[in-house]
Symmetry: D2
Subunit: 256 residues, 4 copies
Amino acid sequence: MASSLSRPIAIIAGAGPGTGAAIARRFAQTYPVVLLARSSTSLDPLVQGINQNGGTALGLPTDVTNPDNMDSTMTQIRNHFGTDMTVAAAIFNVASKFSRTPFLDSGSEFLDSLEATARGSSAFAKAVIPFMLAEAEKSPADQQQQQPQHPPTLIFTGATASLKGGSGLGSFAMSKFAVRALAQSLAREFGPQGLHVAHAIIDGIIDTEQTKDFNRDRPDSKIDPKWIAKSYWFLHTQPRTAFTQELDIRPYGETW
Amino acid sequence: MASSLSRPIAIIAGAGPGTGAAIARRFAQTYPVVLLARSSTSLDPLVQGINQNGGTALGLPTDVTNPDNMDSTMTQIRNHFGTDMTVAAAIFNVASKFSRTPFLDSGSEFLDSLEATARGSSAFAKAVIPFMLAEAEKSPADQQQQQPQHPPTLIFTGATASLKGGSGLGSFAMSKFAVRALAQSLAREFGPQGLHVAHAIIDGIIDTEQTKDFNRDRPDSKIDPKWIAKSYWFLHTQPRTAFTQELDIRPYGETW
Amino acid sequence: MASSLSRPIAIIAGAGPGTGAAIARRFAQTYPVVLLARSSTSLDPLVQGINQNGGTALGLPTDVTNPDNMDSTMTQIRNHFGTDMTVAAAIFNVASKFSRTPFLDSGSEFLDSLEATARGSSAFAKAVIPFMLAEAEKSPADQQQQQPQHPPTLIFTGATASLKGGSGLGSFAMSKFAVRALAQSLAREFGPQGLHVAHAIIDGIIDTEQTKDFNRDRPDSKIDPKWIAKSYWFLHTQPRTAFTQELDIRPYGETW
Amino acid sequence: MASSLSRPIAIIAGAGPGTGAAIARRFAQTYPVVLLARSSTSLDPLVQGINQNGGTALGLPTDVTNPDNMDSTMTQIRNHFGTDMTVAAAIFNVASKFSRTPFLDSGSEFLDSLEATARGSSAFAKAVIPFMLAEAEKSPADQQQQQPQHPPTLIFTGATASLKGGSGLGSFAMSKFAVRALAQSLAREFGPQGLHVAHAIIDGIIDTEQTKDFNRDRPDSKIDPKWIAKSYWFLHTQPRTAFTQELDIRPYGETW
């Protein structure tokens, strides 16, 4: 299915229900999207929904934390979209395992969150960046034939714990601090090549199926995933003259 | 000219050429805009341009750093737009005086930047917030009769020196740190009432008439004011479920 | 009383009861100390106590926020200690006025805290730095004749609100952010000349006469001023190979 | 050798030449010290030196990043010092592997630094904290029989990259950010129990055998390890009324 006219694509890792799905739907309005999640169970309805609504979605069950797995996924993507495939947007939205556990009660699982997150975020970045640099280097002539180009954008989803450790939250905070370090380092390394690397601090409860019973009496006190998606899309539209590296997103009533 | 149908307006302080003008033009696409600057010289062509392009602009020469002056300006605005006037967006974009002076060589002017900025930012916030809270409290019924509502948004323009002091930059950094403190404090106080208060760290040279000879050989190495404006507009569109309090804006090649 | 053998002195601004007094007593163990406060009422017992315990203290009622006042104070100090007087340590411990006031209820006093703090901190720094640079430049030969030298140290007292604005705390936070900006800027400008500029974030209630009824049932939940003093003294002892620019001080039970 | 009179000890992980050795020597002035490093080669001369100078040092080659290894080390320590052994100070000074490598050129070793650091810092903390809490809980009566007590203190050595990612520094920055997250989380969890957890940002070149040829012409432009040690000791002496959680240490000429 390789094609010399192939459009750039968007890849979303952590495309489960909630934020990932909202991001996928938003980017699918412009790009063919590749959705990665551990199981096809969560991918299938999302992929189907996008394809039925005029978008193009490809769901690939992938363990992003396994570099080999990520490699074979990239091969599948290239087989599908063509060897000249480029990536316009890549979102690392894989959740770090959250638990609030007294430190001394935690076992070897203490490091699982960090190791999975670190492996996942760095393997994902390594897999997609070459195709994003290719997108950044497209000549203006190429661009005229295609849609108006936004600089390729790599976004990492962060959390309150990206900025601040907490009692019993060591495992989670180590994960989120580390992702922020990676995002900053990649922004400084690849920004000058036209790759926009951003980090979003999601500070509050996200309004999903799982959290539907929280704060029922306080309207708008949870973050609408569609607006995380819109904020990510806005980051993507910024030209290289005006990149945002970090922003926070928080419901109006949240204390911080 | 008071009217029970009056639309909410936007007020931009520091509406000189460059960033202020770009913000004014962007917000004028949706709202009548009131533009404040010290002299009418810089306001007139901007006001004229907006009015000729189908927008509505009112230019009021105002010394924002003078609370009395700011009060009489608000009276003029209410006289013009009606006593039920509300404010959908207010932007504090007044430049703090920048100078890099050896500390021991500086005289009493060392504090001028801080005092003007502090007086200006707090007087501006005090003048506009009551009209923004009125906007936030509009009932859904009111809103249906009007345009779709975005939460009222108060944005302060910051700089690199909002986060970091520098040799010889004490005066400027004190100003910018103080504005950030104000923005954070207002966000925490008024956020729960539906007022969106944000702070934007503009980290780089802005591409204006004054800076046209800088970095001539490096395309896109200065910040396009239009994209500062678009970023501010994006902040304004965020619903109260997903407010961004702080973001940075930086050209792709900037080191930081 | 000028003398070619004059020892370096320490100057403490904000030498009232509590932290200021503790700092004064600690530095008086090594240096003649000059104590500045608005009224002699708070200075007199402190000065007397130090002089009776074998130290040398000079109390000078001074409005630090008034540059003229600060100038004449420096003249008095030189008249007292000699024209070759140098300053080994200078502590800016003047309290910023704290009030938690709804922003819209605040009047022109909103800026009083900031303006007094900004004027005071910058006037104090301007007055003392020349005498601190003179101390830094003393030749090793000079030093051998005197006591072992620590690099001259200029310390600013900060607070929780140095890092974080708060609802109703805009006035106070603007003050404390601004002082931090000044401290950072001076550290970057004068550090390379051997002047140690530090900022201490005092995060918690200080145990003073005024707060004696707070947290009575929780031992050690207030900060012991003697330990603020010891921490400042420790900063002063650091050689130029290992300067600390910022540290926090917080009781063990404090959340942050 | 177990004894009901056993004194509290200090444990230093990463007790190689340079900073680790300086810390060991400083804490050995007051406590028996246990020194951990990967190989006995670097431990032996240090242990010998301390023991010859009137201190008590025990060197145990340990791979701190291996939890089993760390467990058996703790068993050895208890066998040596007695089952009622308590820990007054524990320093995690294990270096994270530093490399500045283009991200796309890095292989699986990209994560080695992070994983070793994360395993090491958390395994070390888990091993020592129970013995530190025991020290914190000693009754005043116990303390009178012993030396005057400082609250038990757990210190992590950080770096410039603890606060800021850098081009090609992703691996190192992820490590150092993660350690900072751990330190903050432990401080918040165990501070209220009287355990002092601190993080030191060492920002500059440390003056060691390895760096002796750097900056030869600029005296004092490298950090004296003895002063890192003295700063750590100072942190240890702070009572629970006045804990410092974070400080930076930087040569006077360093830009930052």
